[in-house]
Point group: C2
Chain length 185, copies 2
């Protein structure tokens, strides 16, 4: 008996990690199969369209991870600002753990296949989910609905740019600056 | 006699446009040669390392275009805020002109070859140049040096994220929101 997680989960986790490191076009199906220790037939069994299906599943996997970090950040927060600040610091820590150069399986599918409408709609859905979750957390910590909406909007927009800047500069400092950019000093 | 611009310029402009539309990995050397009406030998004559050299040149070409738009935006501005607002609106217009789905030859080289250190340093240099130009414009319009630096930082970070969001949502609205996010309502 094997102690490995189910094949589908292994394929998705391996694909998410590889797309993050090398980009969507930089990874081949054979490499994903090898990294996930999955038999060849299993990929097309679980993902009839192969790599593009796997990319969508990897993006959703990474999106759920992000939501878990967001939830954890708000758990002990006293205010919406506290929660957002903790979230940014947690992401900055993750960024550093990944050698200051971590890509994102979500934006890699967006950027590398700009003509793929399904990838684009998928990304839109993920951002919408993050936005709604952030807004709900902010309201639960006492923010007015309208302010909570503006905060969520500012967070995700600024964070996208800050992540890029952190990659460009090779330091997590821009990610740590996000709360200050949103809320002022 | 030909009225075409010099071969090197044609190669760079064609590469910038193609990388923008299809991403770095989505474009082949043959396609760039065809689009630029350049003879095969000319590519390796001007760019000994082929496609990767061309990507660096295309990123610098696009960076200079961006600087030109920035300069024009500040020309008739009364304040730093005016200049930045005009710049964001000009970019929003460009975004819409390019079918709401324009990529960026600069970030496409950054994102699609995360392990390429030269691409990364190149991107860092471009952002630094934009930052310095923005800061100088803001100071010329009366901003204190420290404020001008903070403004330039907030602009480029927020704009990066806003461009991504505009692509995700298929509308230039996030780009138009940047001045409000930086300066408040």
């Amino acid at each position: 008996m094997s102690n490995l997680p189910p094949t589908r989960d292994r394929l998705v986790a391996a694909a998410a990690l590889l797309f993050q490191r090398k980009g969507y076009h930089g990874v081949g199906v054979a490499e994903i199969l090898e990294a996930s220790e999955a038999p060849k037939g299993s990929l097309y069994h679980h993902f009839p369209n192969g790599k593009s299906d796997l990319a969508l599943a990897a993006a959703h996997f990474a999106a759920q991870e992000t939501l878990r970090i967001l939830d954890a950040s708000f758990e002990d927060a006293n205010t919406a600002r506290d929660g957002i600040t903790t979230f940014c610091y947690k992401l900055a820590k993750l960024f550093t753990l990944h050698d200051n150069w971590s890509g994102c399986p979500i934006s890699s599918t967006l950027f590398e296949s700009p003509s793929n409408q399904e990838f684009r709609l998928n990304t839109r859905e993920i951002f919408q989910e993050w936005h709604e979750a952030t807004k709900a957390h902010a309201i639960a910590k006492g923010a007015e609905p309208e302010n909570a909406d503006a905060m969520a909007n500012a967070l995700w927009m600024t964070l996208q740019g800050a992540w890029t800047m952190s990659r460009v500069r090779g330091t997590s400092d821009p990610i740590k600056q996000v709360p200050m950019l949103i809320f002022g000093s």
